[in-house]
């Protein structure tokens, strides 16, 4: 049985739906294959800014409050997110209100007003968000790491831009981003939950006549040619923040699931029995927190460990994390440990997809970014097929590509860390 029914409207909008007869609600998602990666350098943060603007009103729903009030009136919940390759809008509503919920989302991505006064007001909000981020190094050390790894190309830049680029935005430039990238062929509509046979007609009615000129996407990522392995931001802090890791496979790659399990056994998603958590937090008390993560794009990817560490013992922490990557490359993981990581990863994935919103968000993400909404079983099968040899191979590819380190903390000698990376 496949989880998603898939359909393409005449204008190119793709629709995926997952009927869940026991659900009481419906999750509606509109995903756009557009994000921070689609920005010109001077337009840093425009994808995220556009997401904010989309909530400020449409031709028919003229203010932010009116829009929000309509969601509340039907007891719905709504939110959105912007990443480098995807912008996602969602609403959860009781099954009786699916027409209103979907109308609202379609209206937002088609008819947003981009009122000049709203642009100025949201600018203030976003600048505050950006400033606040820079007060918490744990919130941006990963951006330094990606900048180090990818250099000055779109996937190397922060999603929310810089204070300068945000301040420079105006109604025209933002609306231009919206018109250029919020197009039918980049749009995926997803519905999951208590939906009936009328939902196809509803989608057709609300978005079937959406016409906007399409544009080619951004240039593929190039491998950043630089010998620099350490990015250091000097800052007086009680606790240093760091990311340490290296290059990994892109999204569509056959090694994606092995990569996922490598990150899981190192420190996946807060797994407390993971190697890094146990060694750095529980046993040696070097770090306050540590986890490992995979961040992949259509043509690039990375795995890194991230944590907040004791400033006096950072050398020890860096050495230990680098050693954990090397150990994964040099030694085959035991079958018990691999099974634990596999069960953990499968469990997390299955839980995330248990809600209508979780299920359809997975489908929309795959459809919009990778061109096809994979069945959840494909992921579970992929994770099941990973062997200890696969994990070791992926780890040794990563180590061979060079370990990289980004640090924010009270240090001024990057060379010291270069040495520790080996």
């Amino acid at each position: 049985m496949t989880a998603f029914e898939r359909q393409t409207l005449a204008n190119g909008v793709r629709v995926i739906s997952a009927p869940l007869p026991h659900a009481a609600s419906v999750a509606c998602v509109i995903g756009l294959a557009a994000g921070a990666r689609y920005e010109a350098p001077a337009a840093g943060g425009f994808a995220h800014f556009t997401e904010h603007m989309v909530f400020t009103g449409t031709a028919r729903r003229s203010t932010m409050t009116e829009l929000a009030a309509e969601v509340e009136t039907i007891g719905g919940q709504q939110n959105a997110s912007t990443s480098k390759e995807l912008t996602n809008y969602w609403i959860k509503v009781g099954a009786d209100h699916v027409a209103t919920g979907l109308d609202l989302l379609a209206d937002m991505i088609r008819n947003s007003r981009f009122d000049a006064a709203d642009v100025e007001r949201e600018k203030g909000v976003i600048v505050e968000e950006v400033k606040r981020k820079f007060q918490s190094p744990g919130d941006y050390v990963d951006e330094l790491f990606e900048a180090l790894l990818y250099g000055d190309q779109p996937i190397g830049r922060p999603v929310d831009g810089t204070e300068e680029t945000v301040r420079a935005a105006d109604r025209e430039t933002l609306f231009d981003f919206y018109e250029r990238w919020y197009t039918p062929r980049r749009t995926v509509v997803g519905l999951a939950g208590k939906i009936d046979g009328n939902s196809a007609a509803l989608v057709e009615e609300l978005i079937g006549d959406f016409e906007r000129e399409d544009h080619e996407g951004p240039e593929p990522a190039v491998r950043h040619a630089s010998d620099r392995r350490v990015e250091l931001e000097s800052k007086e802090m009680e606790q240093a923040e760091l990311c340490l890791g290296g290059r990994a496979c892109p999204l569509g790659h056959p090694d994606r699931y092995a990569t996922h399990l490598l990150a899981t056994l190192l420190g996946g998603g807060g797994m407390m029995s993971s190697r890094l958590y146990q060694e750095l937090v529980a046993e040696r008390g070097l770090a306050y927190s540590v986890f490992a993560t995979v961040q992949s794009y259509v043509d690039a990817g990375a795995v890194w460990a991230q944590g907040g560490v004791d400033v006096d013992r950072i050398d020890e922490a860096v050495t230990a994390i680098a050693a954990a990557f090397r150990r994964a490359a040099e030694e085959s993981v035991s079958s018990a440990e691999l099974e634990k990581a596999r069960n953990y990863a499968k469990g997390r994935f299955a839980f995330a997809l248990e809600t209508p919103l979780g299920l359809v968000s997975f489908g929309v993400r795959r459809e919009a970014v990778e061109g096809q909404a994979a069945d959840p079983d494909e992921v579970l099968d992929g994770l099941d097929a990973v062997t200890a040899a696969d994990v070791q191979r992926v780890a040794s590819d990563l180590v061979a590509g060079g370990l990289h380190l980004a640090v924010v903390g009270p240090f001024d000698d990057a060379g010291r860390f270069e040495t520790l990376l080996g």
Binding site: A68, E72, T73, S273, E339
Partner: protein
Amino acid sequence: MTSFERHTLENGLRVLTAPMPQAQSVTCFVMCAAGSRYETWETNGIAHFAEHMFFKGTERRPTARDIAGEVDAIGGEFNAFTSKEYTGYFVRCAAASRDVALDVLADMLRHSKFNAEEIEREKGVIVEEMNMYLDTPRDLVDNIYEQVLYGDQPLGWMVIGHKDAVQNARRETFLEYLDRWYTPQRMVLGVGGRIEPGLLARAEELFGDVDGNGAGGPPPVEPVAADGPRVKIHRKDSDQAHLCLGVPSYPLQHPDRYPLQLLAMVLGGGMSSRLFTEVRERRGLAYYVFGVNHSYTDAGTLYSQAGVDLTRIDDAVTTIGGELKKMADERVPSDELEKARSFAKGRFVLQIESPQGMIQFGLRREVLEGGAVEPQEVLDGLDAVTAEDVQRVAQDVIAANGFALAVVGPFDDADRFERLLA
């Protein structure tokens, strides 16, 4: 078909189930009718400290790694919380792994070692958590507000406790607290989601020999005498002030609970509420503002919380106070009441859609009010509320009581605020 089924083991421990056959996962919950309100000043914080210690090791699972590893290996997700009147521990996992999850939960809660060295080590972590909490005005302000309302009695103290009590905690402190309150009458095992056969036998095996009588409980809350408004300032140098302003309301089981809930919703639930519109949108006085009702078994409060500009805090206080009074003075228009009603109902339906949400709803009622109720009862209760009910309740709680105000910000002078509220 009912949503909940209840069984009582011979020792009095209740087992509440919410079977949801369509789910893949199961959530196993132990909720206990005990929390920081059950402490003395000398032990204030021990309920929360015990939550940390439960994860450190048992006879059969000697280390934190053993506990975490076992749950990780079934792909489970662990969570816990401690509040003033109840405490919960739960694991969400695949339906087939339920018995492992139950075994770990029972073992942690019943056979934790409370090793003296581990206790000493954890004190540092708790104190850090406390420092962080005290540094976050947005989290702190409602604690200060409850001090205003409930004064120097357990309900007025903080869940996280105070440093002296944490520093003085010893193995015996935990064991005494747990012996006294973790008794069969106070504990409910809740299981929601896909429930495979054999649950009751397993529950009997793991919890059937919990003993103790758990009679008694903390003294009922004493009203804090006041003539006129009560104001407490927690001085903190910051560029934004946080405040809570409200009135005493009703305990949980009050017959007017649903009118009170809708009263809070009209006043401050979401972006279409009166407080959001008047305080934030129309006057720009606050960065955030909301209004809620928060009830305990024998006390409650209807209040607004806001983060405000320092120079305009007087306006914010006056405006919020004015909106509260208006609820008592004027009847809510019917469209506004309908909007609040569908908002409340919609959110409730979404909340109980997941196994975890459903069982948590049932358990909270079971533990605090003596019996889980069917979700339909809540929906019917909300449906029955009229505008007259809302005004009657508003007159009873708002017009009849003096205001209580807590402020975290760079102020010294409580009189200034008392005059505004007089």
